[in-house]
Amino acid sequence: MMLILFYIASAVAVFATLMMITRLNAVHGLLYLILSLLAVGVLFFLLGAHFAAVLEVIIYAGAIMVLFVFVIMMLNQGQKTVDQERSWLQPATWIGPSLLALILFAELLIVIVLGGSAETGQLVDSKHVAIALYGPYLLAVELASMLLLAGLVGAYHLGKPMIKKTWGKKS
């Protein structure tokens, strides 16, 4: 039973990724990429890694994809956006991701209805993850924080001269 759920979620992930790398429009590809990440999140849940599943949905499909949406929307030209929005709201663009999301939602409903017996794999709860994270992996956490700081400084530095340059062009 759980193996069937695993197969379905894997098929959704592979199909969504395949559709993502073949879309011509970046926003259509982004929709399918979000579906691929959600499918992998369901796979994490089925594998017993609940904490990783939550982080996958919140950070990957939530925060990082919002960055992509911001940048794609920033790079639009402005006067063409109304036509683009109209063409993006055609059913052909969102019916595929919606169907895939419906499949994942049905899987989640099945898991919830079946209760705790639905977990396959060995359950590793967040308590063990937290104990290991702040015990033997403390140095790795510090290094990750420094990596995030470096990324923040790098993104700030890369974003700043662009604003100056556009101001200089306008004036």
């Binding site: 592979v14 790398i21 796979l43 890694a49 990324g151």
Partner: protein
């Protein structure tokens, strides 16, 4: 014991990784290249989670956390670079940026 065979999980991870690699090599849009990189990092995280679930250890999820941090930092810097390239070259084509003279 584990209900899902580890080989299937690792096979799925390899398939997703190869799909992301194909996306990086085939597509020339910078945004699409960054999205394919996300797919590759995600497939790596899936392999770690599968291995951690196989042996019931928390190390797999911790490695996934570190990969998540790496992906966040990489996306921030990469999208900043994409914005910079778009404002200097007015295109997102990766082939148009092959001049290295300042």
């Amino acid at each position: 014991m584990n209900g899902i065979p580890m080989e299937l999980g690792l096979l799925l991870s390899a398939v997703l990784f190869v799909l992301g690699l194909i996306g990086v090599m085939v597509r020339r849009n910078l945004i699409m290249i960054l999205m394919s990189l996300e797919v590759m990092l995600n497939a790596t995280g899936l392999a770690f989670i599968v291995a951690g679930s196989r042996w019931g250890q928390a190390d797999g999820q911790i490695m996934f956390l570190l990969i998540l941090t790496l992906a966040a930092a990489e996306v921030g810097v990469g999208l900043g670079l994409a914005l910079q390239i778009f404002h200097r070259f007015h295109t997102l084509d990766a082939d148009s940026v092959n001049e290295m003279h300042g």
